[in-house]
C-alpha cells in the first residue's frame, strides 16, 4: 500500500488527511458501548476497534445489533454508556453531519439514494462538505461558483469512471436497477473521500455477478485509496474473503472477534448461527 498505489489514471481519491495515524494503527475505538431503546437493549457492553487500512467485518444473525452499531458510530444513535474514539478524539453525542465532516461515510442496507436526482447529482451531493460557495456567489453562478462546480465535477467523473457507471450518468437513480443503485450509493460515499467507510450489507439482494463486481470495488477502494472499511454482510463467502478481521455480534453482545478463520471455528459463533439444542 505505497503512495503509488493510491493513484490510478492520475487520480487521487485517497484519504489524504495527514492525521498522524499510520497504517495499522487504531482509527476507531468502541469502548463498552451500551445502547437501549426503552427496555430493549440493542447493544450491550461492546468493545472493539478498527485499524487504519483494514477491512473490518461485523457479522451476526438478524437483530444482533449490527446496523445499530453503525448508527452509533455515525451519530444517529447516542449510546447510554461507553465511548467512541475516532482518530484519537473521544467524542460525545456527535450528530451525523459532524460525523460526516470528521471523515465517516456510509451506505445503507436499503438503498437511500436521492431518487429525484441523477446519478451525477447524487455523487455530486457527496461533495457538499468540500464545497464552500455561499448564497452570494451562487446567485450569479459565473465565476467562483462555476469554477467550484467544475472542479468537483472532475472528481465526481473520476469516481464514475472507477465504478464503471458512466452510461447511467444522466439517469434519475430511481429508475436504475438495484445493483446499479448500490453502486451509485458507494460512489456517493466515496465522493466524501472518507477515512472510514461503513458499508451496511453492500451485497444484499445481488446476484453472483453483481456481488463479484461489488467485491472488486470494495477491494479496490481499500487497496488503492487506502480507505478503512467496516462492512456488515450476511454472505459468509464474501466476508471470509474480504475481511481482515471479523467481529461477531449476537443479541447485542459481542461473541467473537478475530481473523476470519479463527471466528469461523469458534463454537459460540456456530451456535449463534445454527442454534443450540435446549
Amino acid at each position: 500500500m505505497n503512495a503509488h498505489d493510491s493513484k490510478i489514471h492520475g487520480m487521487d481519491l485517497s484519504s489524504g488527511r495527514n492525521d498522524g495515524i499510520a497504517q495499522g494503527d487504531e482509527l476507531l475505538k468502541v469502548e463498552n458501548v451500551t445502547l437501549r431503546f426503552g427496555g430493549v437493549t440493542a447493544i450491550e457492553d461492546i468493545s472493539f476497534n478498527i485499524l487504519k487500512g483494514e477491512v473490518r467485518a461485523i457479522i451476526g444473525p438478524n437483530g444482533a445489533g449490527k446496523t445499530s452499531m453503525l448508527n452509533v458510530i455515525n451519530g444517529f444513535y447516542h449510546p447510554q454508556e461507553g465511548s467512541i474514539t475516532f482518530r484519537g478524539e473521544k467524542r460525545s453525542r456527535m450528530r451525523p453531519y459532524e460525523a460526516a465532516a470528521s471523515g465517516i461515510a456510509r451506505t445503507f442496507q436499503n438503498v437511500a439514494l436521492f431518487t429525484g436526482m441523477s446519478t451525477l447529482d447524487n455523487i455530486m451531493s457527496g461533495r457538499s462538505l468540500k464545497m464552500k460557495q455561499n448564497f452570494l456567489t451562487q446567485m450569479f453562478y459565473f465565476g467562483p461558483a462555476r469554477n467550484e462546480e467544475i472542479e468537483h465535477r472532475r472528481r465526481v467523473e473520476e469516481i464514475i469512471d472507477f465504478l464503471e457507471i458512466a452510461h447511467i450518468r444522466r439517469q434519475p437513480v430511481g429508475k436504475l436497477p438495484y445493483g446499479l443503485q448500490k453502486r451509485v450509493e458507494l460512489g456517493r460515499a466515496l465522493a466524501l473521500e472518507p477515512d472510514l467507510l461503513l458499508l451496511d450489507e453492500p451485497m444484499a439482494g445481488m446476484n453472483l455477478e453483481e456481488k463479484e463486481d461489488m467485491s472488486r470495488f470494495i477491494i479496490d477502494v481499500n487497496r488503492q485509496f487506502g480507505t478503512t472499511i467496516a462492512l456488515i454482510e450476511h454472505d459468509m463467502g464474501v466476508v471470509m474473503d474480504l475481511a481482515d478481521r471479523v467481529v461477531v455480534l449476537d443479541y447485542g453482545k459481542k461473541i467473537a472477534d478475530g481473523e476470519p478463520a479463527e471466528v469461523q471455528s469458534s463454537q459460540e459463533v456456530i451456535d449463534a448461527y445454527l442454534g443450540v439444542p435446549h
Binding site: Y97, A99, A105, L113, T115, S125, M131, Q133, I150, R153
Partner: protein, 359 residues
C-alpha cells in the same frame, strides 16, 4: 426534426453543466424573452397588460417561491398568501417611511422581511414533516392574517384598513396602477421576474440547491453527506418567502393598486399551490406553465364566447369555465401527475429521438 443535438459536442465540463446545454433550447429561450420584452408591449392592449400579463408574471414569481420550498426542498407550505402579504405590508411601510427611495429597491428589501418571517415559521420544519408541517404553515397563514387586521401600525392607522400604492414614481414616470402606463409596469415586473428566476436557477443547480433536494429525497442520507438540516431547511424557507414577499409587494404596487387582508387569504395560498402542482414540482418552467393554466386560461375561456359572438351570457360562462377548468385539472392530474413540466420534458425527449420511438 429541428430539435437535434447532433453535432453539438461538449468538450469541457463548463459547457456540459450549462443550464441549457442544447443550442435549440438557448435559441428558443432567447426568442421567448425577446418577445416578452419587445413583442408583448407592442401587441398587447391595456386590458391584456393589466388583467393578464402583469398578474400572470406576479403569480408565476410566487409559484417559483413556493416551488423552491415545496418542489425542491419537499416542505409543504400553505402560508404562501400570508408571506406575500408580509412582503406587501413591508413594502407599504417602507414606502411610507422612505418615500424618496426608488420603489424597485423597496421591492427587493421588502422580500427580506418576508424571508425573516418565513424563517420563523420554518422552524417547526426541523421537527415535523409533510402534512403536519402544512398545518403549522396554516397557522402562519392565520396568524399573519390576524396581524394584518389587528396591528393598525401596518396600514398606517387608516380607517379602511387597506394599503394602497401611494403614486410611486420611477425615474419621474408614474407607475402606480391607477395613473401609470401599464407597459412600464409590465416591463418592471417582467425584468424583476426574469432576474429572480435566473437567480433561482443558479442557486438550485449549485451546492445549496442540491442540499435542498437531498433533504427532500432522503433526509437521513443528506445528514450523512454532511448537510445540516437546520441550514438547508431554513435557507429554503428564507428564499421561498423572499420570492413570495417580492411577488406580494409587486401585486399591491404594480397590479392591484390597493389591497387589504382578503388579498392575502388562504385562497391565494391554495391558488399558488395548485399552480406549482399543475406546473410541476421541482421545475422552474413549470411555475410559469402552472400560472398560465390556473390564472390565464380561465380568463381566456371566459372571453371566448364574446370573441366568437356565441351569445352565452357572462354569468353562464363563468360557471361553465369553472366546470371546465375543474375537469381539466382532474383529467390532467390523472394523465400526468408530475405536471406540465414533465409533459414538456417528455415532449422534448420524443422530439430528440424522432422518428425513433426511443433513443
Amino acid at each position: 426534426m429541428f430539435y437535434r443535438e447532433a453535432g453539438q459536442f461538449k468538450t469541457n465540463y463548463r459547457d456540459d453543466q450549462a443550464i441549457f446545454p442544447i443550442l435549440q433550447d438557448r435559441i428558443g429561450l432567447g426568442i421567448i424573452i425577446a418577445f416578452a420584452f419587445i413583442g408583448v408591449p407592442l401587441l398587447a392592449n391595456d386590458f391584456w397588460m393589466n388583467s393578464i400579463m402583469i398578474p400572470f408574471l406576479i403569480w408565476a414569481l410566487a409559484a417559483v417561491g413556493l416551488n423552491i420550498l415545496t418542489g425542491y426542498s419537499g416542505q409543504l407550505s400553505l402560508g404562501t398568501g400570508a408571506f406575500m402579504g408580509v412582503g406587501a405590508y413591508a413594502c407599504y411601510k417602507l414606502v411610507t417611511i422612505f418615500p424618496d427611495v426608488n420603489i424597485i429597491i423597496h421591492f427587493f428589501i421588502s422580500g427580506f422581511f418576508a424571508a425573516g418571517i418565513g424563517i420563523l415559521f420554518g422552524l417547526p420544519s426541523l421537527r415535523i414533516k409533510g402534512l403536519y408541517l402544512a398545518i403549522t404553515t396554516l397557522a402562519a397563514q392565520f396568524f399573519l392574517e390576524w396581524s394584518f387586521i389587528r396591528i393598525p401600525w401596518l396600514y398606517n392607522y387608516n380607517d379602511s384598513g387597506a394599503i394602497d400604492s401611494t403614486t410611486p414614481k420611477l425615474f419621474g414616470l408614474p407607475i402606480d396602477p391607477a395613473s401609470g402606463d401599464p407597459v412600464h409596469r409590465y416591463l418592471i415586473v417582467l425584468s424583476i421576474v426574469v432576474f429572480l428566476t435566473w437567480i433561482a436557477s443558479n442557486v438550485i443547480r449549485g451546492r445549496i440547491g442540491r442540499s435542498w433536494m437531498m433533504i427532500r429525497d432522503m433526509d437521513i442520507a443528506a445528514e450523512l453527506m454532511g448537510i445540516r438540516p437546520l441550514y438547508a431547511k431554513l435557507s429554503a424557507f428564507a428564499m421561498s418567502s423572499y420570492y413570495c414577499g417580492v411577488a406580494g409587494a409587486m401585486m399591491v404596487f404594480l397590479w392591484l393598486g390597493s389591497a387589504e387582508v382578503e388579498s392575502f387569504d388562504i385562497n391565494k395560498s391554495f391558488l399558488v399551490l395548485f399552480m406549482v402542482i399543475i406546473g410541476g414540482l421541482g421545475s422552474l418552467i413549470g411555475c410559469f406553465m402552472g400560472a398560465f393554466f390556473i390564472f390565464v386560461l380561465p380568463i381566456i375561456m371566459r372571453a371566448l364566447p364574446g370573441f366568437f359572438n356565441l351569445g352565452i351570457n357572462a354569468a353562464t360562462m363563468e360557471h361553465v369555465t369553472s366546470v371546465l377548468i375543474g375537469s381539466l385539472i382532474i383529467a390532467f392530474l390523472i394523465l400526468e401527475p408530475h405536471g406540465f413540466a414533465r409533459l414538456w420534458q417528455i415532449t422534448k425527449e420524443k422530439l430528440r429521438n424522432w422518428p425513433f420511438p426511443y433513443g
